[in-house]
Symmetry: C2
């Protein structure tokens, strides 16, 4: 199929974004990302950049992919479109820092088009902290709000609410972190939503690096680390039970190692564990519920 000009522009954008994000993160650590390229038999492929065992980043991946071909009916149903030729590209990243004082972060931006002229964007950014630093959480949300406001000042509150709902572990009635923004199936005005996606993508480093810099050298206790490992367990629960991208990727034959790079390197699952009353960890419970960070 012919790719639209937007598809080609999005491909170019995510490639440059992957590069600038990896460089920005590498400046905070002493090791570099490694790169794995892969080819999709039916068309397209991807470039995974992985960091592991850093002083700051225990594990992380910044992956881009661009795939095309004939869409199976099962996939078409999920994507709310007709079977036929399609193309999709996107960037997906998850960073698990070593220190429980530095939050885990996730971002995903993707574009999808069919030969019939359907096209849409989806994506978002969300933060998963393990220690109460409300000023960091406010900085994160404010940066995302500015990125949204630059395109339409109704977007932040709408996408924040979608994020609060999406990143919820329904069986536990709690969020996996403090949310951020999330959107899907944004269609009918490709140039407009492409501006949004670029504005969000460009806000990744400003939303996250100041927090990393501020927190990466702070000392932490064994209790802080244990809480991080247990909350990482919730991250695993979310990604394997609810995350649409993960399940869709695994069930449609995506590259397993690239999809599951999102899982944290070390995790604990303890029976009926609760933080000590009055501890910083106990305080986190209120932040794992929807919260107004701006008003």
């Amino acid at each position: 199929m012919e790719f639209s000009e937007h598809f080609i522009a999005m491909e170019k954008y995510i490639e440059a974004l992957q590069e600038s994000i990896c460089r920005g993160l590498e400046e905070e650590d002493t090791i570099k990302f490694r790169e794995d390229r892969w080819i999709r038999e039916e068309g397209g492929g991807g470039k995974s950049r992985i960091i592991q065992n850093g002083k700051v980043f225990e594990k992380g991946g910044v992956n881009i992919s661009s795939v095309h071909g004939e869409m199976p009916e099962t996939v078409a149903a999920v994507m709310q479109t007709e079977p036929g030729p399609f193309a999709a590209c996107g960037i997906s990243l998850v960073i698990h820092p070593l220190s429980p004082r530095v939050p885990t972060i996730h971002m995903n931006l993707r574009y999808f088009e069919t030969v019939g002229g359907n096209a849409w964007f989806g994506g978002g950014i969300d933060l998963t902290p393990f220690f109460p630093c409300p000023e960091d959480f406010r900085h994160f949300h404010l940066t995302l709000k500015k990125a949204c406001d630059a395109v339409d000042d109704s977007y932040y509150s709408r996408f924040k609410q979608e994020c609060d709902e999406y990143f919820t572990l329904k069986h536990r009635r709690e969020m996996r972190g403090i949310g951020g923004i999330f959107f899907d199936y944004l269609k009918n005005d490709v140039p407009h939503y492409f501006r949004l996606v670029k504005s969000v993508g460009d806000s990744f480093l400003p939303s996250y690096l100041p927090i990393v810099r501020r927190r990466k050298t702070e000392p932490y206790s064994e209790q802080d680390r244990l809480f991080q490992l247990i909350r990482r367990g919730r991250y695993v629960e979310f990604n394997l039970i609810y995350d649409r991208g993960t399940l869709f990727g695994l069930k449609t034959g995506g590259r397993v190692e690239s999809i599951l790079m999102s899982l944290p390197p070390e995790v604990r699952f303890l029976y009926d564990w609760h933080p000590e009353a009055g501890s910083p960890q106990a305080e986190m419970a209120e932040y794992y519920q929807p919260h107004d960070w701006i008003g």
Copy 2:
């Protein structure tokens, strides 16, 4: 609703089985199971027995439950029956030993009946070892075969095949362990299948304890432990992506801590990790594919 005599007999059986299994396992360790009882608002409840931080058993649960009430339509669809009053009881256990030389084990036996007279059994046992001890694997399968043969000598091969298929991580094309037996929706002859379920339940300790005894004092290396932690990650993947009981329980409001006691206490997820060629860990790959242990 009125419970059938079989329901009451099954409840009695699983209660006694929980007791004898916990005692048998406690004899191999220096600590005891703790007990948590819980009540289900809509009818019934359960008794969870949990062991954690033992010298032999790092984490494990032997849970029984008996619930009844009005079945929601969504549940009826999954259970292949009509909405209406129902009752269900069962035992579910997962044991994660500390030593990578001792395999993880899982068993589940359950009985379900409706007021309309539908009734069936389901369940199985499967073993997840982390070190190649083919004589142990053969002992395990032979014990299960004997338990099946006592009721019908066509059962073992049929239920073993179902187990190989069920406990497969489809996205990785590998089993989570070395299988065992698995069956579901066994109906139309309650007394006959009840005999089977009792024969399987009674085979739990003889299938597992000799292996625990033989292996629990064997020394192991850091490499052995790392492999165990990574394979436990596959266990998590299976339980959260595929396991019907886990997903059913979480989505129908079951007690989260009792359901997720099945998750291993410590887990690692590393990017694109492979065991060293020629190592005992590399040898395990062949056992994580369907294998004939008896012939």
